[in-house]
Symmetry: C2
């Protein structure tokens, strides 16, 4: 008789964004004349760069001719893309990687989830609250013990290590989703020292690194001394280059990272070669164009565009005397709901009165109660209009 993984029955029933979608659907059905502006889900709106589109089309043509056809490729990614990533890392962060520390994937979400395969179920896991729900859900699926790190206004939504707590796995997301808070070098150094002293691994989610504008802030955990013996880093082209629907990311597993004499890099390689068959050749060619001169230039322009949206949101919050984190080095503005409203109460108010859709903070954890996330990924005109509407109902 088959036994299912009973841990699945412990995952929370309705996923945050499904709940939002339902409310939006119901409102739209009842109010077909209202034009909704979405500042909810963290999806981008600007298209792929021309250089990327051209490369994808050229690769499609290659796949259509027997003499240039590519069948099975290396599960961990083609060297042409890994070399482009290696060069980008060096220029962007000063970090020198070797090719076999780079694993190309169909996105950071897959790697963040699948990485847990190589760790025992019997690990204590530190997870900030609030945070991207996937960290919690994937560990609940495995039945691991979770200890939450309180992120709140007092610590600027940047919790620091507690030496008295023992753990095996630590999640850090910087710039943070949803709070937009970014760890400084000194703060990350404390986390790295803590992880090394405990023999723990930091799973560092750097999906939003391209939004960092302050040159003093670290864009990669590997900029910190000692990180190569305690950290794995997840990166994504989703927000950097508009790959949310095209799907490509990459994960760095340092060769120096080991536990009790067992290196993690070959374990992850084995996981990927056994349960994955590599990213589409066509997508990898497109991804490599992201790192070309033209690709980098267009990505930079897109980030500037979203950054300008974030500025408009921040100015509005300032005018309304609403406190927030994020926005400056992050596409997300994380605000305290005015008049001590609850997250869903504020959600309903914005939906019904301003016809603007955001994300209730409590969807990211209990410390998110009373907070709210707005994203800068809409287009400029909608961002302006949404802020005008919000000003009108709150002033």
């Amino acid at each position: 008789m088959l036994k299912i993984n009973e841990n699945y029955l412990n995952i929370k029933g309705s996923y945050l964004f499904a709940g939002i979608a339902k409310k939006v659907r119901e409102f739209s059905a009842a109010n077909p004349d209202k034009k909704l502006i979405s500042m909810g889900i963290g999806d981008v709106t600007l298209p792929l760069a021309d250089a990327v589109v051209a490369e994808i089309k050229a690769a499609a043509d290659e796949q259509g001719r027997a003499d240039t056809f590519h069948g099975y490729g290396p599960e961990q990614g083609y060297d042409f893309l890994k070399n482009a990533i290696k060069d980008y890392y060096l220029k962007n962060t000063g970090v020198e990687l070797s090719l076999n520390e780079i694993f190309v994937s169909d996105g950071a979400k897959s790697d963040v989830g699948n990485m847990l395969d190589i760790f025992s179920k019997d690990n204590v896991v530190l997870i900030p609250d609030p945070v991207y729900p996937v960290y919690v859900d994937t560990n609940v699926m495995d039945g691991r013990k979770i200890v939450y790190l309180n992120a709140n206004q007092e610590n600027g939504f940047l919790p620091m290590p507690d030496e008295t707590v023992d753990c095996g796995i630590i999640y850090l997301c910087s710039p943070n989703n949803p709070t937009g808070a970014v760890y400084s070098r000194d703060q990350l150094k404390k986390w790295v020292d803590y992880a090394n002293s405990k023999g723990a691994v930091i799973l560092f989610d750097a999906a939003y690194e391209a939004f960092i504008s302050d040159p003093l802030l670290p864009r990669s955990i590997f900029e910190i001394d000692g990180a190569r013996t305690c950290a794995i880093e997840f990166c994504s082209l989703s927000k950097t280059a508009g790959f949310t629907g095209t799907r490509c990311g990459y994960t760095i597993v340092p060769k120096a990272l080991s536990v009790g004499g067992v290196k993690l890099n070959p374990l992850w390689l084995r996981r990927q070669t056994t349960k994955f068959n590599g990213v589409s050749y066509i997508v990898q060619k497109g991804a490599s164009a992201v790192f070309s001169e033209a690709g980098i230039e267009q990505s930079r322009k897109n980030i500037e565009y979203y950054r300008n949206n974030a500025k408009i949101i921040m100015q509005t919050m300032d005018e309304l005397n609403i406190t927030y984190t994020g926005g400056k080095n992050s596409p997300y503005v994380w605000l305290k709901c005015p008049s001590n409203m609850g997250s869903w109460e504020f959600f309903d108010l914005l939906l019904e009165k301003a016809n603007v859709v955001g994300t209730p903070g409590e969807g990211f954890g209990k410390n998110g109660e009373g907070f709210f996330r707005l994203t800068s990924f809409s287009n400029y005109e909608n961002t302006l209009e949404a802020m005008e509407r919000i000003k009108n109902i709150l002033k």
Copy 2:
């Protein structure tokens, strides 16, 4: 302190194809003038259909314009592709599926591996021997108890259920990799009845269904009465439409499939929405063209081409009085090594004397000892030449 998944240390060290690649590399380095013909790894050689290439390029253009840009899509696949798959199923097998039974993925290998997430580690697993190594490796990674099903010449490499054995998970691959053997309707019915009586799930790998030419043989396990309450089916565009490097597959989890009152379809949906973000929009558009009239026609021609190669291999084996299975309803010819040679002994002979690369049977399990796999995925000219060379050394 981090604890790793110790089961990873129990996986066999060198993957079959890595071992072959090393031998080939060494031979080529020592004999740079010899032209090797590969009939080893099951990779295709014919390019993508024109209709597929055109659709991929059109989708790339869409991704390059803000008004047609696609960001995050449904994790389980777009309806346009799921509808195409649903229609194909009905025409090809007579099986009627509903859309939410179809899950689009980046390939059958990923789904075969990831499906185990929703099952307890505490399950007995039946796996045929010899077979595609991924079934064994992914279960060793989870520490499950494996019971092997002996596939051999006596049972035509088609092992049947043993009522005295209890189990939770059963792997069947038909047409089989590596043996090319195909279960009949009656045989599959026995497996379905067995699984239903034990409350077990059959993981049915149908990656090679398109190679079945005999109209009496089942192409889907769902052609068998009772399969919807005990089976999950994995399908792939890799061999059907040359997607080995473009990456797209699909998995069928029937809504009627449940264990102890828990339905498996929502569990798999939850796994995929949590640890996966869908297949690239561009690739899904290309995949949908596989099921267009032009796409089906070109896929049929490609299968015919490989089938003709298989015929040439079979004729050669007949001339040499070498016994084999497969070839007729499968791209693989599974032969008994002549003169009671061992698998690797025969591999070395073919490599060194005929400069032909095949796959030693023991790489697929202990019952593969003394057997050898040749694939029909080379081009026609190379297949002819390889067979001439083999005839010359064995006659």
